[in-house]
Amino acid sequence: MASARARPALHQAAEQVIAVQAHYAAAGVGLAQAALGGARRFDTLRHYPAGDVIDRAGHSQFYYHAHDSHRRPALEHGHFHLFVRGSEPGGFFHLAALSLDAHGWPLRWFTTNRWVTGERWVDATTAIAAIPGFQPRAQGRLAPVARWLSAMVALHADALAALLRRRDTMVARRLQHTPAEQLFEDRRLDVITQTQVSLPRRLQHIAGMARPTPQET
C-alpha cells in the first residue's frame, strides 16, 4: 500500500496520465497512435521513433514497437520498452515493457530475458532503485508521450517493483538447474514475468472511487 507521503506524488502522476490521454482523446487519438509519432506505416519490429527517445541527461530511453511472441496478449497493439542508460557507452538495462491495446489503454507490464534486449543484467534491487529516476524528457510531438510514460511508471512503481522481484525469483529458481548463459540466451524464454494493468481502475482507486485490487496495494 502506498504510504501517506507517496499519495501526493501518486495524485500528480494520475493527473499527468489523465491530462495527456485527454489531450490526445480530444483529437480522437489514443496513446498507441500517438506513440507512432505521426509515422504513416507501422512496421513489425521497427522502432518508433526511429533511433528511440533518448534522454542522455536523465539516463533514460524508450521506444514503441510490435512483434509476435507466444505470450503476446491477443489485444496487444504494441509495447513500449523502457531502458535505463548507464554512464559507460553501451551500458543499459531494461526496466520493463508496457503493452497497449489499439485504443491506447495499457494491458500489461512485463519483464524480458536478457537476450531480448541485449541488456547488462542487473538485479531487481538495482532496477527498482532506478524507478523514481525514470523521467525521460523529449522534444516535439513525443514530449507528451514521454510525460505519460514517466507518470505511468510512477503510478505503478509498487507493481513494477513486485514484477522485478518476481522476475529475480523465477530466474534464481531456474539457475539452480540451468547454467546462467544458457538461461539468459534461451530463445524459448522471452517474457519472464508480467502483470495485467487496469488503468481506469488504478486511477479510480487513487481518486478514491474504488477499492484497491491486490496488485494495486
Binding site: 487519438v29 507501422f42 531480448v116 524459448r188
Partner: protein
C-alpha cells in the same frame, strides 16, 4: 482532510471525462510486416530460435556510425554479385 477531498474531486471528474472522451478514440492500425529487404543487405542470422530475427530484437537503438561516404556500397571490397 479537506485538501485531500478537494484534490480528489477534480481527479474523479477528469477521470470520468477521460473515460467518456476515449470512447471516441479510433483504434490504431495494426503493425504489418515491412517489405522484404534485398538479399545483399540482409542482416546476419540470429543464434537460434528465429533464424531471420536480429540477435536482440528488442534492444535499444544504437548510435549510427557516420560513414565517410554515405553513397558507398555497404561492402566496398566485396566481390561483384551476379
Amino acid at each position: 482532510m479537506k485538501t485531500r477531498q478537494t484534490r480528489q474531486r477534480p481527479l474523479a471528474e477528469s477521470l470520468s471525462a477521460l473515460l467518456l472522451a476515449t470512447a471516441l478514440v479510433a483504434p490504431a492500425a495494426q503493425a504489418a510486416d515491412p517489405a522484404p529487404a534485398p538479399k545483399a543487405g540482409a542482416s546476419a542470422p540470429a543464434k537460434a530460435g528465429n533464424p531471420c530475427g536480429p540477435a536482440n530484437p528488442c534492444g535499444p537503438a544504437k548510435k549510427k556510425k557516420k560513414s565517410d561516404n554515405p553513397c558507398a556500397p555497404s561492402n566496398p571490397c566485396g566481390p561483384k554479385k551476379g
